[in-house]
């Protein structure tokens, strides 16, 4: 992320956040830890880049999109979605740069990305719990006509909490901002590994739906189960990876995890089909199938 605001400067701009400390940053967003009204929360600062063509409309649209997506977070009743914190979305200026600042609950645990790197391969209970969480979130979003488009191991926290073992972060916000970057005037996609093939076709955006999220969820599940991305290879150039995403069929999950129930492997394999029509359209039935796997 460019122009990461210092913790002190941010604390001065957002007095509600006490004891604010920097945690991490990526894309357009930096994350801090703070105590808000006596509770620990994750404070997020989204960098608002200056308009390329100085169009006030463009900036207003970006802000409106961010605010709308935060509104989705607020309205979501899903236990598998991070809840908004006490700092409502606020636009602040720090050192001449504009940011949108808000807070979310601070979740225990670590990301699925870290689990893939540092933990042993997950068992069926963990995999089922992750699958149920992801599909539930996608279904709840779809009911409201939304898609997340940034589901990936980095955006899911394994909390260890029995009632919400996995929680999805950055609901739509990262997509909305990054989407501007990926498909605007800036050139080729930046992080394509979890994007459904149809997202690379500008025309296809006319018919995008929740099945794109299902693809991202499938890739996340595959990688969590197999400790290996279904298509990307180590040290491979971006264009080769892109070719694989668009054209090459991944090996079946069962070839990496023969110990898992075949129905579960079949579900993950179907989620990462290239054509949306080959993925699942009935998410309720998919959830029932997942919950029935033992």
């Amino acid at each position: 992320m460019e122009h990461i605001p210092g913790a002190q400067a941010l604390a001065a701009a957002v007095p509600l956040a006490q004891g604010l400390t920097y945690v991490t940053a990526g894309g357009f967003k930096a994350m801090y830890r703070a105590v808000v009204d006596g509770r620990p929360e994750a404070v997020k600062a989204v960098y608002l880049p200056p308009d390329v063509d100085d169009s006030a409309d463009e900036r207003a649209q970006l802000l409106a999109r961010l605010t709308r997506e935060i509104g989705i977070l607020r309205e979501s009743a899903s236990p598998f979605v991070a809840k908004l914190g006490r700092i409502s979305p606020t636009q602040v200026a720090i050192a001449g740069h504009q940011y949108l600042v808000y807070s979310e609950e601070l979740l225990p645990g670590r990301s699925v990305r870290e689990e893939i790197r540092f933990a042993p391969r997950p068992g069926m209970d963990d995999l089922r719990a992750l699958a149920v969480a992801l599909v539930s979130v996608i279904r709840d979003l779809a009911v409201g006509g939304h898609i997340h488009r940034d589901i990936k191991p980095d955006n899911v926290i394994r909390t260890g909490l029995p009632e919400r073992p996995f929680v999805v972060l950055d609901l739509g916000i990262a997509f909305k901002v990054a989407g501007t970057q990926l498909t605007g005037k800036g050139g080729p996609p930046g992080t394509p590994l979890y994007m459904a093939p149809e997202l690379f076709n500008p025309e296809y955006k006319q018919v995008l739906d929740y099945r794109s999220d299902l693809y991202s969820a499938g890739v996340t599940l595959y990688e969590y189960a197999a400790s290996k991305h279904p298509l990307a290879r180590r040290d491979e150039d971006a264009f080769t990876t892109l070719y694989r995403i668009l054209r090459q069929l991944p090996g079946p999950l069962a070839s990496h995890r023969p110990d898992l129930p075949p129905p579960f492997c079949g579900i993950v394999d179907r989620c990462i089909r290239k054509q949306p029509a080959l993925r699942y359209s009935d998410l309720g039935a998919l959830l029932a199938s997942l919950e029935a796997i033992r």
Binding site: V207, R211, L249, R273, Q275, P276, A277, S281, D282
Partner: protein, 400 residues
């Protein structure tokens, strides 16, 4: 996989006999050949004889553009209340028109005693990315709505599509993605794929239908609709049924004349020329096509397996069958072929079974060629090659 009788001219006792003997699971009536009153009477008769049979009526609304043409050949169609031509632009701009047509078509089928209702639709002539493609989706949505408001009814959505629309693959796949993503999808589909020829040559389907990309696309439609909870009934599918069954079709339909085995919009137009009585034919499961009675006798002397060893083979032993027996033999053979191709639960096994069937046919025809039966052999081998390539093309489309 269910097998239905595709009704048309000259039904005679074929439907009753096919149902009574368990060779077909139901019938798809054509209003072109029956008035509403006659259709209701025929449906009642069949239901009395076979209470479990599926009784359907193809509303054939897609034929309305032909109304008023000097060579139109619409039979009783214009006696049906839903069969009123409406301009496409009006259908697009006035949703109440689509609603009225759907309501009229489904209501009259209910009154006629149909057990499964078939929604009306328009013909998609060359591309899914067209006014007709959009209208077809509008008809589908309206038929779903009608079904939801009529508890206890089973309504099939309808797609009637020219083969060219399947060749334009990008638009075809986009349409299928859109259709399967519709929030309200039909639970069943009546699918008709048509070509420019009303009949094939030499007991095979029309050449322009038996093209690998067309067949692969047709199979793909069956697969994705089935995967998304929509059982597909393939009208006018005849000998292509095993391919569709292997891809996941729920049902297929075939009738006694060539225009009931493959679909062509020209069926609604009078064409010049002298009509000859069709040859009596025998559907050989090994050869994967129909052969005439004389060929059957000649080939059987040289090649084991030309005969199916099924009950209706008897009608061909030492005599010529009548038309009803010929139809029973076709349904009997199709049912057995469908069982082989659509029987296994796993799609890879089904496609493998299909591959075995095509290989066996290729070997049998090659053997006949060696014995000197070379007339038309090239066309037959081309047809079988198309089936083989269709299976490969389908595997690629289905990401298998």
């Amino acid at each position: 996989m269910k097998l239905y009788a595709q009704h048309g001219h000259g039904a005679g006792d074929k439907l009753a006999k096919g149902l009574a003997e368990g060779l077909v699971d139901g019938v798809i009536f054509s209003p072109r050949y029956l008035s509403p009153a006659d259709c209701a009477a025929a449906a009642a008769e069949l239901r009395a004889a076979a209470p479990q049979a599926d009784i359907m009526i193809d509303p054939e609304y897609h034929a309305t553009p032909v109304v008023g043409l000097p060579n139109a050949q619409l039979g009783h169609l214009e006696e049906w209340p839903h069969f009123r031509p409406v301009q496409r632009t009006r259908l697009l701009t006035d949703p109440s028109e689509v609603r009225r047509i759907v309501d009229a078509a489904l209501s009259v089928q209910q009154r006629c005693g149909a057990t499964v209702l078939i929604a009306p639709s328009v013909f998609i002539p060359s591309s899914f990315d067209s006014m007709e493609g959009a209208l077809a989706l509008a008809f589908l949505q309206e038929s779903v709505r009608w079904g939801e408001e009529s508890p206890g009814t089973q309504v099939l959505g309808t797609l009637v599509v020219h083969r060219d629309a399947l060749v334009n693959q990008a638009r075809f796949l986009e349409f299928m993605n859109g259709l399967t993503g519709m929030p309200d999808r039909p639970a069943g589909m009546y699918l008709v794929i048509g070509s420019d020829n009303s009949s094939g040559s030499g007991g095979m389907p029309p050449d322009d239908l038996v093209q690998p990309d067309v067949l692969a696309g047709w199979m793909y439609m069956n697969l994705v609709l089935g995967l998304n909870g929509c059982d597909v009934t393939n009208g006018f599918s005849d000998i292509l049924m095993p391919l569709l069954g292997a891809a996941g079709a729920a049902a297929g339909a075939a009738g006694w004349y060539s225009n009931l085995r493959s679909f062509c919009m020209d069926r609604y137009l009078r064409t010049p020329g002298v009509r000859k009585a069709p040859l009596l034919r025998y559907l050989s499961m090994t050869l994967l096509r129909r052969i005439d009675v004389g060929q059957r006798e000649a080939y059987a002397d040289l090649l084991g397996g030309v005969s199916n060893d099924l009950a209706y083979d008897g009608a061909y032993e030492g005599r010529e069958p009548d038309r009803t027996e010929e139809m029973m033999q076709t349904w009997e053979a199709l049912r057995a072929l469908n069982g082989r191709a659509a029987g296994p639960a796993d799609i890879d096994e089904r496609l493998a079974a299909l591959g075995v069937m095509v290989s066996a046919a290729e070997m049998a025809w090659a053997q006949l060629g060696k014995e000197g039966f070379t007339r038309g052999l090239e066309a037959v081998l081309g047809y079988l090659q198309s089936l083989r390539e269709a299976i490969q093309g389908f595997r690629a489309l289905a990401e298998l």
